[in-house]
């Protein structure tokens, strides 16, 4: 049993933290950094023991086994022997920064009224100074896709990094995706109409699907015309049809997913992603052949049906991957924002239930980057990519050893302090001082 000398660690954190004020975003990388001796988990399946990682001006310039090179380590050298380096974890389909305290309505900015809202953008409501956002960093979660909720078309998401003064500085990819809440073939009875509140076949399912198709058709027609009048929702669809804005369809049912595949073909959509995908396994072959990836909902859930395998949510990502589907993990659901920092442990659990550990890592790094369309810059430790990475004392997918000493976003060394670590220190000191009295 490996025990970590926690006191030295506390000292380390306090020392390294003292140079950064909490919540103050780090400045641009000014000198090269060389991380030496760590086990590098590349995020694309590869592992380099005793590695050398160099980055300059925010970009990785070298990832190599340390013994394969005789080059001088440039810039600041971090000795990371016995430690592990990972690409920053990416939280897709997140509402971080849109809601601060779920029970306080004044802090909620996730769900705009209306049904068809492609023009509504999450980015401008994203609170870069959220206390919850900063609590992601000490667990290695450094990037997120911020997604509006509600309606049939919820709006347009953007991808941000988690260390910024404001939303503008936070942007990794603006307006990356359109989010559709696919209608459910089942619906709860409307008690106010004296219907049984249980879930029943949704008689309006086809109607709602048709609404979406009609909206797409109207948008296309409008965009083809002279656009006399500025129809904001239609205009927001232009990048969708061009293929620049990916379409994220939030859907779980097997039949519904088949309908989504049809919809994709009918609309000629190039980039479509299934979000949730609880029952995607039954249509994995179709998803594979259509090259539709799936953002699987958090493995830390209970099965929906009493007869299902108790570990179904734990292993769904693996089962889909085994079928050849590109998979990553998203964490929406109950208490999703504060739980987003558990993203690495979601992946760890998938590994515990059968997936290879490096493959499980891909579920929150390179696969996610591919699905979000930011894989040319993020999601793996590779030469030429952004230096968005962190150093952990041990296996970052295991909560016992996910203990960060350094984290970098675009080469900037970010603070690992949070509102929570401050309170921790304040009260730890209170009792320490009591003892010494």
């Amino acid at each position: 049993m490996k025990k970590i000398n926690i006191y030295s660690l506390i000292v380390l954190i306090i020392v390294s933290a003292s140079s950064f004020a909490q919540q103050t975003p780090a400045e641009k990388q000014s000198e090269p950094v060389s991380i030496v001796g760590a086990t590098a988990h590349l995020g694309n399946g590869g592992v380099i023991e005793n590695s050398l990682i160099i980055f300059e001006n925010g970009t990785i310039t070298e990832v190599i086994a340390a013994n394969l090179t005789k080059q001088q380590y440039p810039g600041k050298i971090i000795n990371a022997e016995g430690k592990h380096v990972y690409p920053g974890f990416i939280a897709p389909n997140s509402t971080l920064g849109l809601v601060e305290i779920a029970a306080v309505k004044a802090t909620e900015d996730e769900d705009e009224m209306g049904e068809m809202l492609p023009n509504v953008r999450s980015l401008i409501a994203y609170n870069a100074e959220s206390k919850i956002v900063e609590s992601m960093r000490p667990n290695g979660v450094l990037i997120g896709q911020i997604v509006p909720r509600g309606g049939l078309i919820s709006g347009t998401s953007s991808i941000v990094q988690f260390d910024a003064w404001n939303w503008e500085d936070a942007v990794v990819k603006e307006n990356d995706g359109l989010h559709i809440n696919w209608p459910d073939a089942f619906r709860r009875g409307r008690w106010w109409r004296d219907e049984d509140p249980g879930l029943k076949s949704n008689k309006e399912y086809q109607e709602d699907v048709q609404k979406l198709a009609d909206f797409f058709a109207s948008s296309k027609a409008y965009l083809a015309g002279n656009r006399d009048y500025k129809n904001l929702p239609y205009l927001a669809m232009e990048t969708v049809f061009k293929g620049d804005k990916k379409v994220f369809v939030h859907v779980n049912g097997e039949k519904e997913i088949l309908d989504v595949i049809e919809f994709k073909k009918d609309q000629g959509l190039k980039n479509l992603v299934i979000v949730g995908g609880y029952n995607a396994l039954g249509v994995a072959k179709e998803l594979k052949s259509e090259e539709i990836p799936v953002l699987v909902n958090r493995p830390h859930s209970t099965p929906n049906k009493s007869y299902e395998d108790y570990d179904y949510p734990y292993k769904l990502a693996k089962l889909l991957q085994d079928e050849g589907v590109l998979v990553a993990i998203e964490g929406s659901g109950q208490m999703e924002r504060m739980n987003s920092r558990n993203l690495p442990f979601y992946a760890g659990t998938v590994a515990g239930f059968g997936m290879d550990k490096e493959d499980a890592l891909k579920l929150i790094t390179s696969n996610t980057a591919k699905i979000l369309g930011i894989d040319n810059t993020y999601g793996s430790l590779e030469k030429g990519k952004s230096a968005t990475l962190f150093i952990s004392e041990g296996d970052a997918l295991d909560m016992r050893t996910n203990i960060l000493s350094h984290a970098f976003i675009d080469g900037r060394e970010v603070s690992l302090e949070t509102h929570q670590t401050e309170l921790w220190k304040r009260y730890s000191n209170k009792y320490k001082n009591q003892e010494s009295e």
Binding site: M1, K3, L199, M335, Y431
Partner: protein
């Protein structure tokens, strides 16, 4: 109302059966029917066991005067020959709303209503024992006819509203007499239920456990009141006392509630008659042990429409099984000798009663038992064995006349006699004209095929190979047959009419041709109808294979309960949760449910050896804060609900139990929710999957109660109007109740006729240190407050649960001596958890507080090992200490650490075998044992998965077959898994 009924009686007086008339008559002369009616040559079912072939019986003035093989026929007799027919006592339904006006729903108001709306009655509007069914009754001829057609003669009816619903009345369904004649008993029984009255909006009780507590308190209060202790008039309690000796009928709608009702009755020496759910077979041993008589519905679920495989995926195994098994319920009850009657309530008596009854018989219910359930058992249950349900001298002349064995599908119910009054349903003299005939009209030859029941024959007519349009009407033995012209381009008809007073080889009559000419026709019978043969073919359809009942009767339930085993875990890494720490290469021997030896190289001595090389053995995980396995969480109707107990609402069928076992959890504290400052009593459970609710209870565990502070109790996140609305008020609630309890205790000590108050009794236990408090809490001010209030009343808070700001007052907590049970890393979901930090457990642990990690959540509960491990990350806790937070520490908090929570000789063998380091994210339990019984086994789980798949397939096949045979099906509905924890209180009003 009563008066009105009597006036009605005057007009109907001519039919009256009173032997001595005292009503004045102004519409003619007084008459009295003193004639006998004698029935002869009948097959008489005197009672389910006694049959008289070719017997006779006589009735007079509504009663049976003689029954026998041969009886005297008085001179003033009308004799009816029942040759070939059978006579049964007519049926009795003890559970109905027959003739009762629907109670009016109370008008909506603003926000919840906490006080009773009535004055002069009990403090709770849902206790309505004074309700008198007679005052709400008027004979409903249309409904009565449905009962007549189903063979019923007497029903017990009541006002179906409220928890204690008042008296029911026993009514004969006699047509054409006065109410005065029909009412056999105006106070036949008292009814109870778990449902609140629609006539009041009073909030309390909001839960089943609250309902149970309310019934108990009402009984106690009634007893106290009866001794003249109250200053006020309470008409409800007076009525409750008056109704005490009546038959008590408790309505339920699910199996768990059936057993709960019986439990309450047992506590007060009352044996309820229980209106069941039809699912009694799922826990037959407990049903039998209840000693209750059951009134069982016949509402078997329809098969599901499983044609769409995508939709079928949403169908649970238990729903499919219920369809498959429920028709065998009555058979299983009969086999187990559970006394039961049958009710038509919840089905259409006219359309579905007989077919469902026959289905039950087809599934193995003996006919005699079916008959008894409809006649002698209800008669006995209602205390009228001599008068109802049998055909013997002195009994009411309530009987049905049938064409043959009642349980034959083809049998016709001719007449239903009630109180000697005849109700004809089908004429007994219908001539059976079914068969194949050669028909000759005006020189043309037709072929006639008449099929179906004698009273409702159907016809098919052909001319050569051409089918002829036809319509047959056969009434009062007059046949009217309409034939269309063989030439379909014309709308021309031939009309045939004939009287067929008796079966004959030929039918002849008049034919009216399209041109208006009249001629005669003759139809000559060739053969009998082919229906007999068809019927036989159908009979050969086998019953679907009935699935075995499992415990619980859902997926992953056990067909046979796993047995206690003696087991030697060989060569494990043993996490003792004791001073010994973690022992490598160690053996642990389990015998008779206990840990008997820990060491190296232990001899198995006959115990089953499990090779644990490379594996980790730990004590079972204990979750201090769980809401699994509960039918209800909150009694939110009052700001204190100390009288309610979670032990009353344990749901042993929650799949969450099995999933928790798969996560290594063996013990949970099932806590009341946080809707009110003083919540309800806890249930501490061992997760013995498959056992009944009562057998899940951890017997040796001491009593606990839930308190709550903060946003939930002050209704901060929804609009409430109940005191308290601030933290200031919360303190006052506690001081108030503790003061009340002090006063209560000292009054109690003075003796005398003391009003026992279940709420106060519980709070007195708290003050005396006999019941421990686990208090939901978040911020430091309230934590401090509750400790100070407790100190003021000289007791200790045992546990602060959630306690997310415990780290801010850890020193004060240490001083008070309270333990902490917290979340590992939850925060930011509401305002009061804004300063919650994941380092909380570590800080409190460092200060020396006994700290546990709890779940409050059915998902997190099954990963508590991971949650404990987070303290290694947040705050650098040692792994051994982290592991203690989910084993021995919660055991200490629950005061069961002498029994469970660690691996120590003499402790109960609640053990988990892990494939990996138990704090690692990669760990999963392979075996979870409670008291030497392996309740979760990863290999057995694999086997069960395959069995479930197979069973689903078979049931889907059965349902498809059912649909193809034209039986009505129901659409699949999706069941949502509901995960409750006390921090998501949207449902709480």
């Amino acid at each position: 109302m009563k008066l009105k009924l009597l006036i009605l009686g005057v007009f109907l007086g001519v039919f009256s059966m009173q032997s001595q008339e005292y009503f004045p008559k102004n519409d003619g002369v007084q008459m009295r029917n003193t004639n006998y009616t004698v029935f002869k040559n009948a097959k008489i079912h005197v009672d389910p066991q006694t049959l008289i072939n070719n017997g006779m019986f006589a009735i007079k003035e509504g009663k049976i005067t003689a029954v026998g093989k041969s009886i005297n026929i008085p001179k003033n007799s009308i004799v009816i020959d029942l040759k070939g027919k059978e006579v049964y006592p007519s049926f009795i339904d003890l559970y109905s709303e027959f003739g009762i006006q629907k109670p009016k729903r109370a008008e909506g108001g603003n926000g919840p209503q906490y006080d009773a709306a009535r004055e002069g009655f009990y403090w709770n509007d849902h206790i309505r024992p004074e309700t008198d069914a007679v005052a709400h009754f008027s004979f409903d001829a249309k409904e009565a006819e449905k009962y007549h057609k189903a063979g019923f003669g007497v029903v017990n009816t009541h006002v179906p509203d409220g928890i204690i619903r008042g008296t029911g009345m026993l009514v004969a369904l006699t047509p054409e007499v006065s109410e005065g004649d029909r009412i056999l008993s105006d106070r036949s029984s008292q009814y109870l239920s778990f449902d609140k009255s629609v006539q009041s909006r009073q909030s309390y009780p909001t839960s089943i456990m609250g309902t149970m507590a309310l019934i108990r308190q009402a009984y106690l209060d009634a007893d106290w009141y009866s001794k003249g202790n109250a200053d006020n008039k309470d008409l409800a309690l007076e009525a409750l006392n008056k109704n005490k000796d009546l038959v008590q009928i408790f309505t339920t709608d699910n199996l768990l509630n059936e057993l709960r009702a019986d439990k309450v009755g047992d506590e007060f020496g009352i044996q309820y008659v229980i209106v069941g759910s039809g699912n009694e077979y799922q826990r037959l041993d407990k049903i039998k042990a209840s000693n209750a008589t059951y009134i069982v519905p016949l509402n078997f679920p329809e098969a599901y429409d499983v044609e769409d495989p995508y939709l079928t995926g949403y169908l649970s195994l238990e729903e499919m099984r219920e369809w498959n098994q429920a028709p065998a319920n009555l058979k299983m009850l009969a086999e187990k000798n559970v006394p039961f009657t049958i009710t038509t309530h919840s089905i259409d008596a006219e359309k579905d009663f007989k077919s469902n009854l026959l289905k039950a018989v087809e599934y193995g219910l003996p006919k005699e038992a079916a008959l008894a359930a409809l006649t002698t058992v209800p008669a006995k249950t209602i205390g009228l064995s001599e008068k109802l349900g049998v055909l013997k001298e002195g009994a009411w002349a309530n009987f049905i006349i049938t064409s043959g064995d009642y349980f034959d599908k083809e049998t016709t119910l001719y007449e239903n006699w009630i109180q000697g009054e005849k109700k004809v349903l089908e004429s007994m003299d219908v001539t059976d004209i079914t068969g194949k005939y050669d028909l000759n009209i005006d020189g043309k030859q037709y072929e006639l095929d008449i099929t179906g029941e004698a009273s409702k024959p159907k016809v098919e007519v052909k001319m050569g190979e051409t089918k002829i349009g036809s319509k047959l009407n056969f009434q009062e033995n007059w046949m009217n047959l309409l034939l269309s012209s063989p030439d379909t381009t014309k709308t021309e008809f031939i009309r045939l009419v004939a009287n067929v007073p008796e079966p004959n080889k030929t039918i002849s009559g008049k034919a009216i041709l399209p041109n208006g000419n009249e001629t005669s026709f003759q139809a000559t019978k060739k053969t009998g109808s082919e229906k007999d043969k068809k019927e036989k073919d159908k009979k050969e359809d086998k019953l679907p294979n009935i699935m075995p009942v499992t415990y619980p009767n859902i997926a992953y339930g056990f067909k046979e309960k796993p047995k206690q085993e003696n087991v030697l875990f060989k060569n494990a890494t043993v996490w003792t949760s004791e001073e010994e720490g973690v022992l490598e290469n160690t053996d642990v021997l389990v015998k008779n449910g206990e840990i008997v030896r820990i060491g190296e190289g232990i001899n198995a001595g006959g115990a089953k050896v499990i090779d644990a090389t490379g594996k980790h053995l730990t004590a079972g995980i204990i979750d201090e804060h769980s809401h699994l396995a509960a039918s209800d969480i909150n009694e939110a109707g009052h700001n204190s609900s100390a009288e309610v107990s979670m032990e009353d609402v344990i749901d042993p069928t929650d799949i969450g139990i099995y999933r928790d076992l798969a996560g290594g959890v063996t013990t949970i504290q099932l806590l009341h929710g946080s809707a009110n400052p003083i919540g309800g009593r806890s249930a501490i459970l061992k997760l013995k999957w498959g056992e009944s609710a009562e057998d899940l209870i951890f017997e040796q565990a001491p009593p606990f109660i839930k308190f709550a502070l903060g946003e939930n109790v002050k209704q901060a996140n929804w609009s409430g109007n109940r005191f308290p609305q601030t933290r200031m008020g919360v303190e006052q609630v506690f001081i108030d109740y503790f003061s009340q309890a002090k006063a209560y205790e000292s009054e109690k000590k003075q003796g005398g006729d003391f009003r026992k108050d279940l709420e106060m009794e519980t709070i007195v236990e708290i003050l005396n240190g006999e019941r421990f408090v686990s208090s939901h809490s978040y911020i430091q001010s309230e934590i401090n407050m509750l400790m100070k209030v407790a100190e003021q009343f000289d007791f200790n808070i045992n546990t602060f649960t959630h306690i997310l700001e415990g780290y801010k007052v850890a020193d004060k907590m240490k001083e008070h001596g309270v333990g902490a049970s917290t979340f590992s890393d939850w925060w930011a979901y509401k305002y009061e958890v804004n300063d919650a930090i994941p380092y909380n457990a570590s800080i409190m642990n460092d200060v020396g507080i006994t700290v546990a990690i709890n779940s409050d959540d059915g998902e997190m509960s099954r990963r508590l090992n991971q949650e404990a491990a987070k303290s290694v990350k947040y705050g650098g806790m040692s792994e051994e200490d982290a592991w203690k937070m989910v084993t021995i520490n919660p055991a200490k908090l629950l005061h069961v650490d002498d029994l469970v929570g660690s691996i120590k000789t003499g402790k109960q063998a609640d053990l988990v075998l892990w494939n990996n380091h138990p704090l690692s994210i990669y760990a999963k339990p392979e075996k979870t044992m409670i008291e030497g019984v392996i309740y979760f086994d990863i290999d057995r789980d694999e086997k069960m998965r395959n069995e479930i798949k197979k069973e689903r397939n078979e049931l889907i096949g059965q349902m498809l077959k059912e649909k193809n045979s034209g039986v009505k099906t129901q659409p699949v509905t999706k069941k949502e898994e509901q995960r409750v924890h006390c921090d998501l209180l949207e449902e709480v009003q």
